[in-house]
Subunit: 371 residues, 4 copies
C-alpha cells in the first residue's frame, strides 16, 4: 500500500474516552491522519480542546487541539470514519454514514452480530474482512466492527486452542476496569473498595461474540462456532485492563505441556511488519505464578498484547488460565485502528476523491482485494 | 447452658488482625470473657494496647487494654483457647496446648484436614463436633477448626443445594479482600488499582475443605463428599468481603425457581436463639441484579450472613450465582466464636477447675453431650 | 419537650445521598418520624425503594420502603422539612415552602450566608437559633441551615480556641472524601489513585462560613468574626471523612499544653442528654502520632464527633493540627437532625395542626422560646 | 564530555524500588552503563532477576537480568555508585565506599544535611557541586545527594520565586503517594480508602532541606537560606506523584500576574541539551482549575517536570498554589541520575583506571572543573 498521502480519518464520538484514545494512538500514524472530529450537538462548533474533558496522560496532540468539532450530520472531510459512538447512537448514525459512502470502522456493539458485518480481529480472522464487500444495506460504504473489550482478550487465547484442539466449552469470570464504562461512567461511590458483580449486556456479548469471531467463512457468510460460553462479569476498582479467569474444555485430549506450547507459539495471522499497530506477539505467556496483573501487564505490546498466566489443569473442565487485555487499546481503540490498517492494506479503504462516483467501494478493482 | 459465670477464653495470636477481631466480637459476650492473651515473644510482657497495632474502627475494649500479653509457653489463665495463629506456628503450638488440657478453637489451617479434627460450621455440620471427643493425639484437650475464609462463603451456599439436589461439580472464581492476608499483609504497591491472580495455598483449600465440611459422619469419622471443585482465586483492592463467582452442576435436575426457593428457605441447622453469634439467616438471597457487593453487603447479619445474588442458569454447568462472605467475621473470628458457642452448648467446654484431673474432656459426662 | 406524639418530618431531596443518610439516621428517632418524601419529578409517584438507588450499608427501613415519593410542589403531610436539595434547587424551593408555613431545616448552601438565616451548629452557636423568629421573607415558616461539610469540622476545632485565645488567622488544606459530592458525584476515572486539587465553590465556603458561625449575636443579628481563612481543598480517594490540615494564629499567646488542654476539655454548649443526636464529645483529641484517619476515626461518636491529632507548634503561624469530620453525618445529615432537635427543644418546631392559622411560627408563644 | 566509552555505574540497594527505577531509567543511557549491582546479603549471589521483586511496568532490561547481585562489601566493578540505600544503611556504607575511592551519588537522607555534602539539584543549585572537591572525611571519593522526594517538588517552585521576590515563609501540606515508602512499604490495610496524616521524619526534611538547597555558596561552604517552612505531610492512596499545597509569603510585594510570569518563564540553570536527563522545562504552569493531578501530570517531562496549578492570592500569606512532583523520578532516581550527569559533565566522574592512584578525585585536573 502506498503510504503517501495518508488517508483522512474522521472520528465519531471524538470527545468520549475511546475517541480520546483513538486520537492519542493515531498521533503520527504512518497511514492515517485525523481530519474530522464529530460529537454530540453540545460539543459542535467548539475547538476540540474546549469540547473534550481530556483524560489521557499526554497532552492533546497539537494538530488536534483546534479542530472544530462537528456533528455526524455535518459534512465530514475524511476518507473513512472511526466510530466510538455508544451503541444506541451507532445504530442510527453508522448506517446513514455508510450509505453516504463512508467506510465505518466501529467500536460500537450495534452491528457486531449483524450477519453482513465482520466482527474482525486481524490476527484471528482476517478473512472475515471480505464481508464488507457485500453489505447492500450499508453500500456504497460499509461497516466493520471489533469485539467487546473483554471478548477481545478471550478470543486471543481461544484462537490457538481452537486451531490445535477444538474448543468444547468455556467458563469465564471477568474482573473489568472502570475505563471500560467510558466517562463519567462508573461513580466512585459505587466502585471504590467495592465490586459490582454485573455489567448490563456484557455477559451476552462474551457469550456470543467469540462464536462469530471463531466462525467459519463460507460463501461469503460466517457460520458461527458452536461451543457454549458461560460468563460472569464483575466491575472492580482498577483503571485499565480486564482480567479474565477462564476454564476451558477441549475437543481433543491434550496435556498441559502441549497447551502451553500452543499458546506460547501463537503468532496470529499477521506479522508485525504488515500492519503498523500489530504487536509482535498478540499473545504472551507469562512465567511465574503471580501474573498477569493489570498495573504491570496491561501495557504489554503497547496495549495490543494479551498476556496469559496461571495455566494449569482444571478439576472440572480441562484447563484453567488467567488472561489480561488492555480494554481501551486491544479491546477498543487499538482494535479499531488495526482493523482500519487491515482494510487499508487490502485496498478496502481509499481516498474518496479517487473512488468512482456512485459505485460501492467494493466494485471492480476493490473486489479483487477481497479474495 | 448456664451463663454464669462466663467461661474464660484465651486468645493465641492476639495482636494480629484476626486476634483483634476476636477481641472486638467477644466484647460483652454473654458466655465468654477474655482472660488471657498470647502472642510472639516480641509482644510478651507488654500491656495489650502497646503490643497491638490496633486496626478496628472502635477502640480497644477497656477490659482488654492493660492485659499483659504472654507467649503460648506461659501459664495461660483460661478455660479454652481461640487460636488466630498462622498455620506454621499453629502446627507446633496447638497440639502442645491441647495436650496441656486446653480445648483449642482454631482459625488456622494447620489441622483442618486432619481426619480426627472437625472442620466445623455450626449451621452446616454441627454433628461433626463429636470428633473432638476422640482425638488421642491431642487429649486431654482437643482441636476444632473453622474453614478458610473463602470456603466459609462457598459452603454456606453449597449446603442447601447439596441437601436438595446433590452437588455434582463446582467451578469458582474468588475476588478476595486484603484483610484476608492479615497485617501488614498485602503491600499497597501491589494491590492499589491492581489484581493479583493468585494467593498461595488458597485454591487447594477451596478445592478440598468443602468436601470435608459437607462430608458424612459415620462411626465417628468423616467420609468426604466427592464433588470436584475447581478454584481460581484473586486478590482485589477491597478491604473486607470475599466475593465468589460460582458455577454449579447438580446431581438432580432442577429448575431455577426450585434452586432459588431452596437457597431462600435455608435456615441452617441452628436457630438464632440457640447460639448468641448465630445469625438469624446464615444465607440471604438478594433481590436485584447488582448484588452482592462487598461495601454494601459484607456486614449483613453482623458479618455472619452470606449473601447471594445473580442466580441464573449457566450455559456450561447448571447454575451460576455470586456469593459474598465477610472474610474476617463469618470467615474467621466470627466462625471461631460460633464454634466455641456450639461446643459450649454441648457441654464440650467447661471451667477448668471443674474438669476431672487428668481426664480427657470427653470422658463420662462429656461423652453424653457428643451424641 | 413532650416526646409523644412525634413530630412529622418531610425530606426534600429524599433520593439523594444526604436524603438517604437522613432516612437512616432518623430510623427510630425518639422525637421525629418521617411522613413525607419529596424528590424530582422523575421519582414522583414511585414507592421510595423504587425511586432511590440506595447506597447505605443497611436496608431501607421498613416504614420508608413504600412511602410514595412526591415533588416539593405536592401537598406534603408533615410538621417540618429537612432539605437535602442541591443549592440551585434549594434557592427556589426552600423559600416557597417556608412561606407555605414549613420550618425548613436545610443542608443546602443557598441561604447559609443570608443575614436572616442562622448558620447553626448546636454545640457551637445555639443562640443563633433565635434568628428563625424574624425572617419576614420566609414567614410564616423559616429556614435554618447547617454549614458546609468541611466547615463543620473546622469550626468544631476553632470554637474552643476562639473562646480561650481568640483566632487571628487560619490556613487550611482539606482532603475530602467522594461522598461529599453526592451520587453519582465523582467519576471513578477521575479519582481512583488520583487527587483533584479543587472543588468548585468549596474554598469560598470554608473561608466565609466559619466567620458567621463564630460571629456574635447582637440585637437579633450576627456580627461575623473577622479572622481570615485561607483554604485549599482537594478531593481524594476516600469514601467518608474529610481531613483538614490546619495552621492557626492565635490572638493571645499560648503554649502547646494550654492549647491541648482547651481542645481536650471542650464539651460544647450542649450536653448529650439534652438532644438525642448530640455526641457526648463534639471534639476528641487523639493520642499518638498517626491519627486521625478516615477509615478508623470518621465514625467516632456515631459520626458526630470531630477528631483531632498531630497538635504541635507551627513554624510560620502558631500551631498546627489535623482534624477529621464525618462529612455526611456531622457535616450534613447528622448536623441537620441536630439542628431540628435544638429547634424542637426550644419550641420552634410544632405540630402543624396546633399552629395558629396564618400566624408566623414565632409569634406569641414561640417568641418566648427564642429568648 | 567524551561519551565513549560510557562510565561504569554501580547501584547500591539495587533490588529496592528506587534501585529498580534507576535500572529502568539508565537503560540505554548515553553516558552510563550499569556494571555492578549490590544489595543485602540475602540477595547476594543471585542473578538480578531472581533477587528482585520487579515492580516496573516494563521488563527487566536484558543486559541486567543476569548480573550477579553482590553486597556493598564485595569488589564492585564500576567507576561510580548510585546509592538507593535506606538511610541507616547509607550512614555506614556510603562513607566507606567513598573512602574506597568511589563517587557516591546518593538518594539516601543520611548525609544530606552534612555541611560538606552538596544537596544538589542541577537546575537549581549546580554550583553546589563544587563541595564534592573538599570532603576530607570521604576522600578520595565523595558523596553527593539529592533531596527528599517532596522537597524536590517544593524547591522547584521556590527557586524562581526566591530569585525574583525573596521567600519570606512557607506553609505546605503534602499528599504523598505510596511509592514513596518503597516496597513492601505501606500496608494496603492502612491506606486503601484512607489517609495517614504523618510520615515519620518527613516533615523535618521538608522544613530543613529547602533552606540548604536555596542557600548561598561562599568560600566553598553553604550558608542556608533563612525562611521558615511549616510542613504537614500525609500519605494518601495514590501510586506515584506527591502533591504539595503551598502558601508562600514573599519578601518583595508582587502581584499575581508577576508571580505567574516568573513561574512560567523559569527554565532553571541548565538546558535540556546539556544533560541527557534534564527536562526541557523543570517547571510547568498548567492552565485550568483542576490540575495538577497525580494520574494525569506526574509523568510530565518523563517524570522530571514539576507541574504547578491553582496559583492565586492567599488570604493569610501572599499566594497559594499546588505543585506535583513525580516522587520516584524527579524526587529520587531521576534526581540522582541528573546529579551524576552534572558531575560527569564537569569532569567530576571519571574512569577509575584513569584516576591517579591514591589521589583524591578532585586534585589537579578535577579542581578546574569545580570552578
Amino acid at each position: 500500500m502506498s503510504q503517501k498521502p495518508r488517508l483522512k480519518a474522521g472520528i465519531l464520538g471524538a470527545t468520549g474516552s475511546v475517541g480520546q484514545k483513538l486520537i492519542r494512538l493515531l498521533d503520527r500514524h504512518p497511514w492515517f491522519e485525523i481530519t474530522a472530529l464529530a460529537a454530540s450537538a453540545r460539543s459542535a462548533g467548539l475547538p476540540y480542546h474546549k469540547a473534550a474533558h481530556w483524560l489521557e496522560p499526554t497532552s492533546i496532540p497539537e494538530a488536534i487541539r483546534d479542530i472544530e468539532v462537528k456533528t455526524p450530520d455535518d459534512d465530514l472531510d475524511c476518507d473513512f470514519l472511526f466510530s466510538a459512538l455508544d451503541s444506541s447512537t451507532a445504530r442510527e448514525v453508522e448506517p446513514s454514514l455508510a450509505r453516504a459512502g463512508f467506510p465505518v470502522i466501529s467500536n460500537a456493539s450495534a452491528f457486531r452480530m449483524d450477519p453482513a458485518v465482520p466482527l474482525l480481529v486481524p490476527d484471528i480472522n482476517p478473512s472475515h474482512a471480505e464481508l464488507v464487500c457485500n453489505q447492500p444495506d450499508f453500500a456504497p460504504g460499509f461497516i466493520a466492527t471489533n469485539p467487546n473489550c473483554a471478548t477481545a482478550g478471550l478470543v486471543a487465547t481461544l484462537k490457538p486452542l481452537d486451531v490445535a484442539f477444538g474448543i468444547e466449552a468455556i467458563e469465564v469470570t471477568t474482573l473489568q476496569a472502570v475505563s471500560g464504562a467510558g466517562y463519567p461512567g462508573v461513580s466512585a461511590l459505587d466502585i471504590m473498595g467495592n465490586i459490582i458483580p454485573n455489567i448490563p449486556g456484557e455477559e451476552e456479548k462474551l457469550e456470543e461474540e467469540p462464536k462469530k469471531i471463531l466462525g467459519r467463512l463460507e460463501n461469503s457468510a460466517i457460520t458461527p462456532n458452536v461451543f457454549p460460553v458461560s460468563a460472569q462479569v464483575t466491575r472492580v476498582p482498577t483503571v485499565d485492563g480486564h482480567l479474565l479467569c477462564v476454564s476451558v474444555s477441549l475437543r481433543r485430549r491434550a496435556d498441559i505441556s502441549e497447551v502451553r506450547q500452543v499458546l506460547t507459539d501463537y503468532r496470529g495471522e499477521l506479522t508485525h511488519d504488515e500492519l503498523p499497530s500489530a504487536p509482535s506477539h498478540p499473545l504472551q505467556v507469562l512465567n511465574g505464578e503471580v501474573g498477569p496483573q493489570p498495573r504491570l501487564h496491561a501495557d504489554a505490546g503497547g496495549g495490543m498484547t494479551v498476556t496469559v498466566g496461571r495455566l494449569r489443569p482444571c478439576r472440572v473442565l480441562d484447563f484453567r488460565y488467567v488472561a489480561l487485555v488492555h480494554n481501551t487499546i486491544r479491546g477498543a481503540a487499538g482494535a479499531a485502528i488495526l482493523n482500519a490498517e487491515l482494510l487499508a492494506s487490502r485496498g478496502l479503504l481509499s481516498h474518496r476523491s479517487q473512488a468512482p462516483q456512485g459505485s460501492t467501494l467494493c466494485e471492480p478493482e476493490y473486489q479483487r482485494a477481497c479474495i
